[in-house]
């Protein structure tokens, strides 16, 4: 979240820089002054006013989302989760497969915590890069652990008496998504919140 705050600050800083930069460019340019669109640049932009307006808009959106969720009218939720190096777009009742060795065994109930994005019919929550932990809970069950079909790795070099053949089966895990829920109301000033200590 500190990252978020930082980026907001950077953006705010940029607005002022932008203005001064434009002036500098104009001074440096070699085309005749006649052709330059000499708009009277406002000497100072009220940054705080813009920020206030912005936060107001965010707040109203968040309130709408929270109202919808409180009345449980949000409908089906979907999420993009990061799992074992891959991203999956999931919704309750889906099946996803994880390739390669992965410790959980059949019947285990897990929760997928790295949620990059969550959305419903009328809104989308986008994490940067992930949503704050605890905002969205994704529950899943492991339903199968198996091996893939046999893959043949065959290599041969012509005229060199070199031929190798390898057979390989890698583990696969099938996961059923049970539920995706918004656990707490969406906060509009999440950017100002202290950074969480939790690291993935």
């Amino acid at each position: 979240m500190s990252f978020l705050a930082q980026s907001v600050r950077q953006v705010l800083r940029h607005t002022t820089q932008h203005v001064s930069l434009n002036g500098a460019m104009r001074a440096l340019s070699i085309s005749p002054a006649l052709l330059q669109q000499n708009k009277p640049a406002p000497s100072t932009i009220d940054v705080s006013a813009i920020a206030k307006e912005h936060s107001k808009a965010i707040q109203s959106v968040c309130e709408k989302i929270n109202q919808q969720v409180a009345k449980s009218e949000q409908g089906r939720l979907f999420a993009v989760v990061h799992l074992c190096g891959k991203q999956f777009k999931i919704t309750p009742g889906d099946i996803i497969l994880v390739e390669g060795y992965w410790p959980p065994t059949i019947g285990d109930e897990i929760s997928l915590d790295k949620v990059l994005l969550a959305g419903a019919r009328d809104f989308t929550l986008i994490g940067r890069p992930i949503l704050e932990p605890g905002l969205v809970t994704v529950k899943a069950t492991i339903i199968e652990k198996t091996l893939t079909h046999t893959k043949t790795h065959f290599k041969k070099k012509r005229r060199k008496q070199y031929m190798r053949i390898n057979f390989q089966r890698s583990p696969n895990t099938m996961i059923r998504i049970n539920s995706i829920e918004l656990t707490r109301p969406v906060e509009h000033n999440a950017a100002d919140a202290p950074p969480s200590l939790r690291l993935f």
């Binding site: 449980s72 089906r76 919704t91 309750p92 419903a120 019919r121 539920s179």
Partner: protein
């Protein structure tokens, strides 16, 4: 004797010498193998497709442990005699009685319980619970739609599908093998009845929820129930809810008077957009728009709230006596 022994030694000595001389020592697959296999394959082909062997006919088969494992697998406590009764069809019970009568067993000992009562009980429980579940999860759908969804879940095909995937196929005592869909569905009902008798109605409800209601997962509900004459129904619903008369309006079209024409129709009532739909002509588009509007009003869309398969309905909501 010594002479014979001497010959034998000479022969054994000679053998390896012969072998070293030839390239191919012996043939591993005998000459008769291939024709025999061919003949066997011929005979199999002549007989045509065979009926599957019942698993119960194998040597490695223990009915008692199979019954025990059936309950444990599903995480349920069954009384084994009850479960065995649930797996015995009436036709099979009659057959068995006839057989025993022929063998000369006294009439008083002739009694094999069958699953008719258990099936009736189980069917009743399943129906009551599924009705309550559908009512709870789709409150806005009219009674006719709820009835269609309930009857889909209680149809013989659905129940038979669930039943086979619970592994009842090998356990059923029926006159025919493989058992028919009706038998499978009947047995599933009987299992539910046996569960209610063994560990209470609550467990039976959870069983129905976990194995039958889950068939609704990610199902397109329009496949199960689509209103015929949606415009008429929409008019009735709007009149009921006092929304005003629904009027279709053309929102857009593309490629008019061509083979690939598309019309986009919206249905409004009181200047409120109820639903939108596409079609190759205005009539179809209006109908799809009406269906869309009904889906919105009844909360039947694909992106509706997913079914919750973890809820525990209170017993008082399930109408068992009717």
């Amino acid at each position: 004797m010594s002479l014979i022994r001497g010959f034998a030694v000479a022969i054994t000595m000679a053998k390896p010498m012969n072998r070293t001389g030839t390239v191919q020592t012996c043939r591993h697959i005998k000459r008769w193998v291939s024709p025999t296999l061919r003949e066997l394959a011929h005979r199999v082909q002549k007989q045509g497709p065979q009926k599957p062997e019942p698993r119960a006919g194998f040597i490695e088969w223990n009915y008692r442990s199979e019954l025990f494992a059936f309950g444990k697998r599903l995480n349920e406590e069954f009384q084994l005699p009850l479960l065995q009764t649930a797996f015995t069809e009436r036709t099979y019970a009659h057959q068995e009685q006839e057989r025993q009568r022929k063998l000369g067993i006294a009439e008083s000992d002739l009694h094999t319980a069958d699953n008719v009562e258990l099936a009736a009980k189980g069917a009743h429980i399943a129906k009551a619970y599924i009705e309550a579940y559908v009512q709870h999860s789709l409150p806005k759908v009219p009674a006719i739609g709820q009835k269609a969804i309930t009857s889909y879940l209680l149809s013989t095909e659905t129940l038979a599908h669930v039943s086979t995937h619970l592994g009842t196929k090998d356990l059923i005592f029926a006159s025919e093998y493989p058992p028919s869909n009706e038998t499978l569905a009947n047995t599933l009902n009987a299992v539910i009845g046996a569960l209610a008798d063994s560990s209470g109605v609550e467990r039976a409800f959870l069983f129905v929820r976990d194995f039958i209601c889950t068939q609704l997962n990610q199902k397109d509900l329009l496949d199960i129930w689509t209103p015929e004459q949606p415009l008429q129904l929409l008019g009735e619903v709007c009149a009921q809810r006092k929304l005003g008369d629904p009027e279709p309006r053309l929102l857009g079209d593309c490629g008019k008077n061509t083979v690939l024409s598309a019309f986009h129709v919206g249905i409004y009532s009181n200047r409120q957009l109820l639903g939108k739909g596409f079609g190759e002509d205005v009539k179809t588009a209006t109908e799809t728009a009406a269906i869309d509007a009904l889906q919105t009003l009844f909360d039947l869309h694909d992106n509706r709230r997913p079914f919750d398969f973890g809820i525990q309905l209170e017993t008082k909501h399930v109408r068992l006596e009717a």
